[in-house]
Symmetry: C2
Subunit: 345 residues, 2 copies
DNA sequence: GTACGCTGGGAGAGCGCTCTCACACGTGAG
DNA sequence: CTCACGTGTGAGAGCGCTCTCCCAGCGTAC
């Protein structure tokens, strides 16, 4: 085999493309990176050579030379990944990954151990990524807020620290959505509207309660009783019992409308109410929040707020990419929700 | 400012550490990479310098020089990420990420667009990763099987192609688990045991049906009626109706035990049965599969097969890491499941 | 006809690290 | 005392790419 002097068939390099096209490395680099100042014929020749050799640029080499990594980290604090495993995490990640799939960025997923936060910090600050996305729900998770000045960071869900006015985040408007849900109950003629609120240590819990309250106040109605749950089905059932605690058996419930801060609790509450012989929506109209997969198959199907979690992920990715590109995206991006009318209200 | 001749405060490099410690780059590299042949004093000096400068090795440079990337790709075919969004995907990913978090590997998550599979192939073969994990459920997803010879790949869930005897995978034993569930029904005295099977185009659907059948045959019982669903709650309810189709209203159901191939379908089936006045577990004992989060809060709480999805992810990561290290892990790793006894059987 | 842009392409110096050598320095055997 | 050998360290050549010059060639204005 003349010419084949034992050279291993390694992946093609820029240099090889340059040789094949009869130009210099620099020119091939220009073509690959889309520089405009290349003569059409040369551009064609280079592209032919690239196709011929099935050339794929080496990310590592490119990063080393350009000081950009084309990597975006997606950080999920461990507690979030556990607590919110099912309903929330997956679609957000999917939205992020899909959006990034259309760019040249690569997604680095890391579950941040809360026991040794320095490990994650060092990784982020060690020049391994161009930016980071942080998905979290708890106040405690926000040890990353401080990194915002050293590295582009976008949060999913409003960070709860008070000093985060200068950080970027994408969120749904929990308050407005809760208002919408409550206003709907008002619009269908309900006048004594109770709520089962979620955990008050996260923005979602706080804001949804606040939205419910303001909707009623603005409508000139007295806010009905409030019970608190922990976003789980069991706690929803318990909260419903609490709301009924003062009512004697057999008497009608002390409320005719109920806004529940998430669907899991709503499912529990509906069961509890039905067990007491309360008809839904006839006696009590119930609106949930989240539009979990099971919401449509409850009896009756649950009227609820649909949260486009995948859009939230996509939005986060979008803001971060623009931030890295040196643009000035809005610090606060709100993803719209919508009320899904089903049978429960 | 003497000495500070405008040098930008960039992240410290190997070279700077070497200068600080009074040794050569090569020696620092040895220390960083844990070579044994370094004199204790020098080792100490280098480590001091590293600590002093807060040095973090640059991954890109390291990869370029060593031809290893320290990156593992986690590929989720788009259809899988959609269909299995909630119950399955998240914990597996978490298991993978957590395991990899204890190594030096970095996790690259990519949602593989099924419309342009070459993009993913090129990425994998372009020297960007050291190995790949593929999470999928459908036969069609396995366009990656062929890459196994070019790159270490570990599958989550048994690949369904016939020619994959040489690929690596981690899975639960669906067949044995279904057997266990069915044997339990037999052990509590049920004799006419039906099943609602899942989609027959994926191993989970096929194997669980097969396990049910073999358990009954081995117990000397006639397999009861079979209905098929699509792993959704609605399809479970429909399938239950089908099973009852031949029974007249008021007569006892034609079976006293029911194994359902996943919890979503089980939830639907239980509702449908109860709507017909059938008491669970009194008239029909029901066992599900998956132990979804909601399983324990159904009425009655669902007896089901618990799948340690996070362990599956961890197992995949573990096998891949060993494969990359040149070891010979088993081609087939089975993660044990367990039957969780609750109220429905 | 000369001077001056301007524009496309090439040369070459790195980016931060690894890794193969070669070298200096003991140590033990001949 | 010399020679072979082992052991720890340094020198230096890349890994594949980007990017800053720099130069050649052309068009335009005077």
């Amino acid at each position: 085999m003349p010419g084949a002097s034992g050279t291993p068939p390694r992946t093609p390099t820029l240099e090889m493309v340059a040789a094949a096209a009869g130009v210099s490395r620099a020119t091939v680099s220009r073509v690959v990176n889309g520089s405009t100042s290349v003569t059409p014929e040369i551009l064609q020749a280079v592209n032919d050579a690239i196709a011929l050799l099935d050339y794929v640029p080496n990310r590592m080499a490119r990063s080393l030379a350009s000081r950009r990594t084309d990597v975006i980290a997606l950080i999920v604090p461990e507690s979030t990944s556990t607590v919110f495993a099912d309903p929330f995490f997956a679609p957000v990640v999917r939205g992020v990954a899909r959006t990034l799939g259309e760019t040249d960025y690569t997604l680095n997923l890391l579950i941040a151990s809360e026991s040794r936060p320095e490990k994650t910090r060092r990784y982020l600050l060690g020049g391994n990524v161009d930016g980071a996305l942080v998905v979290s729900h708890h106040a405690e998770d926000h040890s990353y807020v401080g990194l915002g000045s050293a590295l582009p960071i976008v949060f999913g869900g409003r960070p709860v620290n008070p000093d985060v006015s200068d950080s970027y985040y994408v969120d749904v408007d929990n308050r407005a959505s809760a208002r919408t849900a409550t206003e709907y109950l008002v619009s269908i003629g309900r006048r004594r509207i109770a709520t089962i609120a979620g955990r008050q240590d996260m923005p979602a819990g706080l804001d949804r309660l606040e939205g419910w309250r303001s909707a009623l106040t603005d409508a000139g109605l007295e806010p009905g009783p409030v019970a608190y749950g922990a976003f789980t089905q069991a706690s929803g059932a318990e909260a419903a019992e609490q709301l009924l605690a003062h009512a004697d058996a057999g008497t009608p419930p002390p409320f005719d409308g109920l806004f529940v801060a998430n669907d899991q609790m709503a499912a529990g509450a509906v069961q509890a109410l039905q067990a007491r012989g309360i008809r839904i929506p006839l006696d009590v109209a119930v609106v949930g929040y989240d539009d979990d997969t099971f919401a449509s198959s409850l009896t009756p199907p649950l009227t609820t707020i649909h949260q486009p979690s995948a859009d939230l992920g996509a939005g986060m990715a979008d803001v971060l990419v623009r931030l890295i590109a040196g643009e000035s995206p809005p610090r606060r991006t709100i993803i719209p929700t919508r009320l899904v009318l089903r049978g429960s209200a």
